[in-house]
Subunit: 312 residues, 2 copies
């Protein structure tokens, strides 16, 4: 089963207390695709400009990602973002955003991308997310990310898009803003109650504190993997989504989305996010191995387990 | 084995989005003592004024707490704090602090309080914490809390006090401030490296996100118990400490402080904190039962467990 991801492909300029990069491969769809590529075939859909070359494509191809639906816009320039992080990496300032080819992006999916059984709608304009969702008739699992901007300026179409997906992945502030519920659990439950049949799950990304999974019947929480050195948090959320959605995608056809499966997926997402932040941009994930991922997931399990038994 | 706690006994005025109280029993030592009272005998040490009467003492006595070392200052008034919380309860403003009898507090411990095997130094001036620590020769476990104020104005004596305790309980911002390390794990490890023989453990309180335990050999993380309605967060950290230290205290004499024991203690601390915030001040914990605590700890375990086994 393949995964299709639609979203931004970018060049990022990032400064953190640990150094800086003037121009590196980035974007939500890229971080997602690299993380998900450890689990399944990934098809990436998004626009790039003439400044996007073989070196960047090779990073994606190197992880087996299908780049044939990357749209090369003649005369265009690739989406560009410049940001700087504060001393504890919890605050970041956007210094420059150049939409470039993204400004007039209208996703065009090939039959192969439409036929993927799993779809991730990375953070783009909700109307585009909805248009993509409606092109993919055979998906058995669709997840969506968004951001405060769209909650502010396109709330209705975001809600429309949310109502056609199985899983919403947002950070806690966005969940509160979207539902106007100050309490995280209430906000997630409100989101689950929207739409016919209810959402299958909501993932609340909690940044350095980890993530929570809220389903109609349960709650699961997992901390971020503790690291002594976080070099660059850019793309952590999309790497999480790539690990999470990737693990769901790689199950056998017909597998049920059990709570146990979703929890393991949360652990894989957490592991991928932790590797992503260990170096700038895609540098760490490019050289990552599946054995390292599995080891970190096992480590995560050990550091979250406790026994009720006083002899345990 | 008894627990001695030294710290503030207060009247609080609190306003949250869910209501307000003009004057209710509060203070770090009170919240700690009530939480710890579910596990062991607690002796509470701290000053009160003439406005502190039988009604307040009865709340403590009602939970079996030994109040004989509460110092009644003739002509004095009890410590008073007034605060207001923002809409999502993550921000709070202190509107008034009246030290009153706390201004000239010099802890006087009875022989019984000195003889407790477990000691909790709630957030007070570090020099007083140190003076108390040195009166208690037989303690087998001492934990300490502090705050940003003391890191600012009494850093050296705080470090001196820290060097004579087994466990430091601080929130993540305080850990970063105290060690000047922006990374939480590095900050905790720095703290463990201080002092002869090393600290046994550091507990990082993460507010609504839970808590982490860092020991010389390991890391454990537990989320806060998810609640749909948090009414008043005041005292959550001290209730956590009460459950955590209380669970450690109630072990058989000679029990080793194993990682498994400390992890269970973290779960009990988390449960107590979650009950504390369900109502104003001490209202919820006053009517709490041990069965409710045990049920919540079991629930916490279920919501943090995942299996590595794809068939699990």
């Amino acid at each position: 089963m393949a995964i299709t991801v639609v979203g931004s492909i970018a060049f990022d300029a990032v400064k953190t207390p640990f150094g800086e990069r003037e121009r590196m491969l980035g974007g939500a769809a890229v971080h997602f695709a690299l993380a998900a590529s450890f689990f399944d075939v990934v098809r990436i859909v998004g626009p790039v400009g003439e400044d996007f070359g073989e070196a960047e494509l090779d990073v994606l191809r190197g992880r087996g990602i299908d780049v044939s639906d990357i749209e090369h816009v003649p005369g265009g320039r690739t989406f560009f973002w410049r940001g700087e992080y504060g001393w504890d990496l919890n605050s970041r300032e956007t210094l420059d955003t150049q939409l470039n080819v993204f400004e007039h992006f209208a996703p065009k999916l090939s039959p192969a991308s439409c036929a993927s059984e799993v779809l991730f709608l990375a953070n783009i304009q909700p109307a585009l997310q909805l248009a993509v969702r409606r092109q993919c008739h055979d998906t058995r699992f669709t997840a969506l990310d968004s951001m405060n901007l769209w909650i502010d300026v396109a709330r209705d179409s975001l809600i429309e898009a949310i109502n056609e997906v199985d899983c919403v992945i947002l950070n806690d502030a966005e969940l509160r803003q979207l539902t106007a519920k100050p309490n995280l659990l209430s906000a997630a439950q409100e989101l689950i109650s929207w739409g016919p049949g209810g959402r299958r799950c909501v993932v609340a990304k909690l940044g350095e504190y980890g993530a929570a999974l809220i389903t109609p019947t349960g709650y699961f929480s997992i901390p971020a993997f503790p690291l002594e050195t976080v070099v660059d948090p850019t793309g952590a959320g999309d790497s999480f989504a790539g690990g999470f959605v990737g693990y769901i995608a790689c199950q056998r056809p017909g597998s049920r989305l059990t709570p146990a499966l979703l929890r393991r997926a949360m652990a894989y997402g957490t592991a991928l996010a932790s590797f992503n932040v260990e170096a700038f941009g895609t540098e760490r994930v490019e050289r990552l191995t599946f054995a390292e991922i599995a080891e970190r997931v096992a480590h995560l399990r050990r550091m979250t387990t406790f026994s009720l038994d006083p002899k345990g």
